[in-house]
């Protein structure tokens, strides 16, 4: 009884996983860069580190958004190329939110952002088992200030090497 229930749950999870992958791939193949007045994603280079020469480690998001901007997609494309060139390298994608949201929602939002970045890498040919995802919500700001610039720098997904 219990077992069958658990089975069902795993089945459901696997299904959602597939569905989720489909959905995000669609998003990637038909890129819809969020633009307009609500687009307050950070575009500068402050706080950005590099996985390798010319390969930025992070992408930025607009307030409350988790879809990839054109700039973010470009950065992730570079990361994908780099990861292909270094096939033994594994990464973890850390999703973050700014401090202007409730803690629990921000955890979910960070996970959604990291997953968006992860799915882009997967759709660019990186094996899913090389990428892990973790959300820190608003717990680990890159810039501790309380202003719009800092918030934009904190709405991010950071690719971190794990080996």
């Amino acid at each position: 009884m219990l077992l069958s229930k658990l089975n069902k749950i795993t089945l459901a999870l696997v299904m959602t996983l597939f569905l989720g992958a489909c959905a995000t791939q669609q998003k990637v193949t038909v890129p819809s860069p969020s633009s307009g007045p609500t687009d307050d994603a950070y575009t500068g280079t402050e706080t950005v580190k590099f996985l390798a020469d010319g390969v930025p480690d992070r992408v930025f998001f607009a307030t409350n958004k988790s879809d990839l901007t054109t700039a973010a997609s470009a950065t992730l494309a570079k990361q994908a190329t780099y990861l292909k060139a270094n096939p033994t390298l594994n990464v973890v994608l850390e999703g973050h939110a700014d401090e202007r949201g409730t803690r629990e929602y921000n955890l979910a939002l960070g996970e959604r952002r990291a997953t968006a970045a992860k799915n882009y890498l997967i759709s660019n040919g990186i094996a899913a088992n090389r990428i892990k995802v973790i959300s820190y919500g608003k717990e680990k700001p890159a810039n501790p200030a309380s202003n719009a610039l800092a918030w934009s720098q904190n709405r991010r997904a950071v690719t971190v090497k794990t080996n």
């Binding site: 749950i9 999870l13 988790s66």
Partner: protein, 446 residues
């Protein structure tokens, strides 16, 4: 027959109307000042030995009671210097005129004696000074080092007798103690008495811990931890220190809370960019999925009768509050005001839902009825969230962060409590910064 009854009625009516031929005056106004209370020092019985006398608890217990009652905002404690009668005399036979004279309306007195088995007997009496009557008299037995708890129990009894509501002083708060720089805060679970005393740290701070919540049964706490970099929901027995992973999920679980009967944990599980709400039965470990929607569904909170669940979802495009039946059906959005809504928490009385609201870059703590009507915002600030109800449903505790400067200085998190009316906002001082408070039930109730 019918006639007879009518006749009797008529007769009655005549009599009553005659006797009620008196002037009737409606008193619809009065003053809303806190009730003036005189809390006399207690006194030691003759059998108390020197060591106990040194503890000074005959003054400390009344002081603690005074502190509790004053912080509730409903009482005003009169200055002890103005007291005329000695504690001993007052306790046995107060001269009400002496207490009326200093404008006290009620009086608290007490006596501490030692039992043969070394336990203390703490006796208190509550007097209505104006009507010259005793309102209640109770005694508690305890060990001498447990005097604080006795003080809280007495405070609860006084509060209940004078307001008609259960008190909330014999309770504790679990929270996250924060230290270190903003970019890399050390976070530890901590628990303290409701008045901020007796802090105990439950974790060392090696990993981030978030959102601890008390079980209604008090012994258990559920919280989220990044232990081994795997963000998961844990169950912790704060008395034994034993803990356990909640469920076996292949990804992040977060936003845990107990069901009102304490038997289940309800939480979110995030996978592939989608967070849904699950429950786990603590005993059987059976996991159930309640929401199935590509949006973020989080911050679930059971109604006290367990039939409904309030939660936070952005299925409309933005964070709003929804309710559903406890089986996950009948999902209904209840927040429709301007702005974003989060962290719904059902009141222990069942009629209200407390929430956090973000509107025009300000954060509010507010309450609304469970159908979404009657929204009232209690407090506005730069950042504040995570309300948690006192067990009597009259007071909320939450945390607030102020803006930090460009170097990340300032902006530490503080705990505050506020009355349901929006009055009486009070800082609860903690030795470190503090966030994510959760109020326990009455310790004596279970």
């Amino acid at each position: 027959m019918k006639y007879n009854i009518l006749k009797i009625f008529f007769l009655f009516f005549l009599i009553t109307s005659k006797s009620f031929a008196l002037v009737s005056v409606d008193i619809t106004r009065g003053n809303l000042d806190p009730l003036p209370v005189a809390i006399s020092n207690f006194y030691f019985d003759v059998n108390i030995d020197g060591n106990l006398k040194k503890t000074n608890i005959e003054n400390k217990i009344p002081e603690l009671i005074q502190n509790n009652l004053t912080r509730s905002g409903l009482f005003f404690a009169l200055d002890k210097k103005s007291f005329i009668q000695k504690p001993e005399v007052a306790h046995n036979k107060p001269r009400f005129e002496d207490w009326s004279f200093i404008k006290a309306q009620v009086l608290v007195t007490g006596k501490i004696s030692l039992e043969k088995d070394e336990r203390l007997k703490v006796e208190f009496k509550l007097w209505d000074v104006v009507s010259a009557t005793e309102l209640s008299a109770l005694a508690f037995y305890t060990t001498p080092d447990n005097w604080r708890r006795v003080g809280h129990l007495i405070s609860d009894k006084i509060y209940e007798r004078l307001t008609g509501e259960k008190g909330y002083f014999d309770t504790r708060i679990i929270y996250v103690a924060e230290t270190g720089p903003k970019v890399n805060k050390k976070k530890r679970l901590a628990v303290m008495d409701q008045d901020g005393f007796g802090v105990k740290y439950l974790t060392l701070g090696n990993e981030i811990v978030l959102t601890p919540r008390f079980s209604p049964t008090n012994q258990l706490v559920t919280y989220m931890s990044y232990y081994k970099n795997l963000p998961r929901v844990y169950l912790l027995n704060i008395e034994t220190g034993l803990q356990d992973l909640v469920g076996d999920f292949p990804g992040m679980t977060f936003a845990p809370r107990f069901s009102s009967d304490g038997k289940k944990i309800i939480m979110s599980f995030a996978q592939e960019g989608n967070s849904d709400i699950y429950t786990m039965d603590i005993k059987t470990r059976v996991v159930e999925k309640l929401t199935d929607h590509p949006s973020i569904d989080t911050s679930p909170s059971y109604s006290p009768d367990g039939t409904q669940i309030a939660f936070n979802s952005d299925r409309s495009g933005f964070q709003q509050i929804y309710i559903m039946k406890s089986d996950g059906t009948n999902v209904k959005r209840i927040s429709f005001g301007d702005g974003l809504y989060g962290t719904p928490v059902w009141s222990p009385r069942g009629d209200l839902i407390a929430f956090t609201k973000l509107y025009r870059n300000k954060f509010y703590i507010g309450v609304m009825r469970s159908d979404g009507s009657g929204e009232r915002l209690l407090t506005e600030n730069y950042y504040q969230e995570a309300p948690s109800w006192a067990p009597n449903g009259r007071v909320l505790i939450f945390y607030r962060e102020t803006a930090s400067d460009t170097a990340g200085r300032g902006g530490g998190a503080k705990l505050l409590s506020i009355d349901l009316t929006g009055y009486n906002e009070r800082l609860i001082s903690t030795e470190t910064d503090a966030s994510d408070p959760s109020w326990s039930g009455l310790l004596s109730a279970k």
